[in-house]
Every structure is written in structure tokens, then in C-alpha cells.
Symmetry: C2
Subunit: 202 residues, 2 copies
């Protein structure tokens, strides 16, 4: 692809590095900015710079925060005895949006994946261990809400082993047929798990 | 959607203003930047700012350019007697990529669209008229390469009327069945035009 300007080409190259955005989409976005008023681009770049430079991570749960401690960890209305272990900040957002959870979180920052060179040391596992084993901890239950992938299962297994000596209940989120999902379209493993994990009808 | 940080929320709002990008995609892109090194965001915002502030438009054809005149208009190898009239800079890029055209361009900056409040005065039509009617002009043929929409046809009709007095050949790009396209899937108008505009078999 020939670009009419080096400036356009550089911008397209940078935008196309974003996940799920190819050269064609990047070009469309860049040409859109060219057509719009200059203030539009300024507002976009300023908000991204400000975000990236100002973003903090909660020192307790490692979730994205505006300050040293996130709003969930500082809230008095949250149940500190319940810790939900997730991979990323976006999982916290997803669970928060359900409005069904009143505990706190622990963001690992990923899952153990030897193929990608991610070991337990690269994740916030040590900090979870010290969080639940330190004196005066309120933690009573740990809910593992990791991806149902090999990496997620490996991480859950690893955590379970590491935490086995502690007086903690370790649970995992339910796997089953999605609400509104049709039985005949579910894969065998999900369907199998949904039968094994059946609950009382009420 | 609840965001863990005001900074994230502001960035998502700005990114979601881009065409074809919703709040979910914007969030994915923003969280990607959070995960990546800070220099990545800097490179992205810098390239966009530099592009938007540095971009120029060719004073002859109004295509995107690095200087006052674009590379196509300044090239001695381009046939100045042939001017292809297009809507946007991206159309120039598309035609350039075919490698089949050796003339120059004229970018209107859109098409006449009363619904969107775009009249002939909002487009680079006056500049086209003076370009082809000024003394010593090399222009001999104008190729109209506008969208086959009502707005595109209206613009073509308007241009044709305005240019009627001049010693210029006015042509339009061929409409027909795309190469590799199947006859049975073509719409009636395209098929009709492809028969009316048939060419000699050779």
C-alpha cells in the first residue's frame, strides 16, 4: 500500500499495532482524524497519554485504580472475607457489572503459561499468598474465577496446592450451560460438567 | 458499564468516538495499552499528533500531502492532461494501488448531499473549474470516479453541467460485473449497465 504522506504511514503503522486492528482499519481511523477538526485528535491523544501516565494499580488487589488502593478495597461495604481471584482487570469489571458479588478481588495479571514464558513468578501469586496468610487476615474463602483453558486450570491447580495448608475454603465458579443456551448446542465437556455440578431445583 | 478508574473511562469515551469502534472494543484497546509498556502509548499518541498537526493538503489537487504540493502533482512522469475526479484521498490511494493510472487527480472532499447539508460550495468544485479553465491548462480529459450513489450521480451531473462549455472530454469509470464476480449474483442495475457498456472482445 502506497501512502500519500509519511506522516499518514507512520500513524497507520502505530494504530495497526493495536490488537484486532489491521492496516485497512488503521488507515480508515487515521483518515477519519484527518477529516475531523484538529481538536478531536488532541482530545484523543491527551486522554490516552493522561490515562497511561496516571494509571495506578491497587497495592492490595492489583486492580486498576486511580490511587494506591482501589475503590473496592477501600469500601467498607465490601465483604473482605471473600476474595475472587481473576486474571485481568477486565474480569473484575465483568463481575462488578453483574451486581451479584459483594466480596473483594485479587488480580493475578495473567495465568501460568509455559509456552508464553509466564511462570508463577510473573503473576501476583506471592502477594496473594501473603495476603491470605498474614496475621489478622479476614480472608475465609477464595473463589477461583479463571479461564476454563489449560493455562487457567494449571494456575488453579497451582494455587490450590500452594494454599492447601491454610484454613481457607477454595471454590471455583460454576461451569455449565449459559442461561438462554440450548442443550443441543453445548459441547460435551460443558454439558458433562453441568450435570456433575447440578444444583437443587427451587 | 462501571470503570475502575476515571482515566480509563475518559480514554474509552474518546476512543469510542472513532468510526466503527464501540465501547467494548475501545475498552479492549485501552486495557491493551495499560498492559503494554508506557512507551507504546507514547509512540501511538506522538504519531497521531504529529500526523494531525503536520498534514497538508495539495493546493492543486487537494490530496493529502507532506508539503504544499503533493508528490503526484509535482511528478514529471504523470500525464497532466488527464484528471481523475474523486471524493476522498483514500480513493486516490485505491486507484494508485492498481498501478494502472498515470494521470493526476482532483479530490473534491465529498459529494453533494442536501440531506447532510453539503452543497457544491463545501466541495473543491470551484478550484476544479478554475484549474481546468485557466490559461495554459494542460487538462484534456476529466474522469469522474465518484460513488455510484444518488449523491455521487448528482455530483457528476452537476460537474458535467458546469464544465459543458469547456473543450474537455468528460468520462466516467466503467460500471459492470466485478472481475471474478458471478453473473447470477449481480444486481439488475449493474448487470444492465454492464451490457449497455459492453466492450469489444479481444
Amino acid at each position: 500500500m502506497e501512502y500519500p504522506s509519511k506522516l499518514i504511514e507512520d500513524a497507520v503503522t502505530e494504530v495497526a499495532k493495536l490488537p484486532g486492528i489491521g492496516k485497512k482499519t488503521a488507515l480508515r481511523l487515521v483518515l477519519h482524524l484527518v477529516k475531523e477538526h484538529e481538536g478531536r485528535t488532541l482530545a484523543l491523544t491527551e486522554s490516552l497519554s493522561r490515562m497511561r501516565q496516571g494509571i495506578r494499580f491497587c497495592k492490595v488487589c492489583h486492580n486498576i485504580a486511580d490511587n494506591d488502593t482501589c475503590m473496592i478495597c477501600t469500601s467498607h461495604r465490601r465483604d473482605k472475607s471473600l476474595i475472587c481471584v481473576v486474571e485481568e482487570s477486565r474480569d473484575v469489571m465483568a463481575i462488578e457489572n453483574t451486581g451479584q458479588y459483594n466480596g473483594v478481588y485479587h488480580v493475578l495479571g495473567g495465568v501460568i503459561s509455559p509456552i508464553h514464558g509466564i511462570g508463577p513468578g510473573d503473576l501476583q501469586i506471592e502477594s496473594l499468598l501473603s495476603r491470605v496468610s498474614m496475621q489478622g487476615t479476614e480472608a475465609r474463602e477464595l473463589i477461583l474465577a479463571l479461564s476454563p483453558t489449560m493455562e487457567g486450570d494449571t494456575t488453579a491447580f497451582y494455587l490450590n496446592k500452594k494454599l492447601s495448608g491454610l484454613p481457607l475454603k477454595i471454590t471455583s465458579i460454576a461451569r455449565g450451560i449459559p442461561v438462554g443456551g440450548d442443550l443441543e448446542f453445548a459441547d460435551e465437556i460443558t454439558l458433562g460438567r453441568s450435570i456433575a455440578g447440578r444444583t437443587l431445583f427451587h
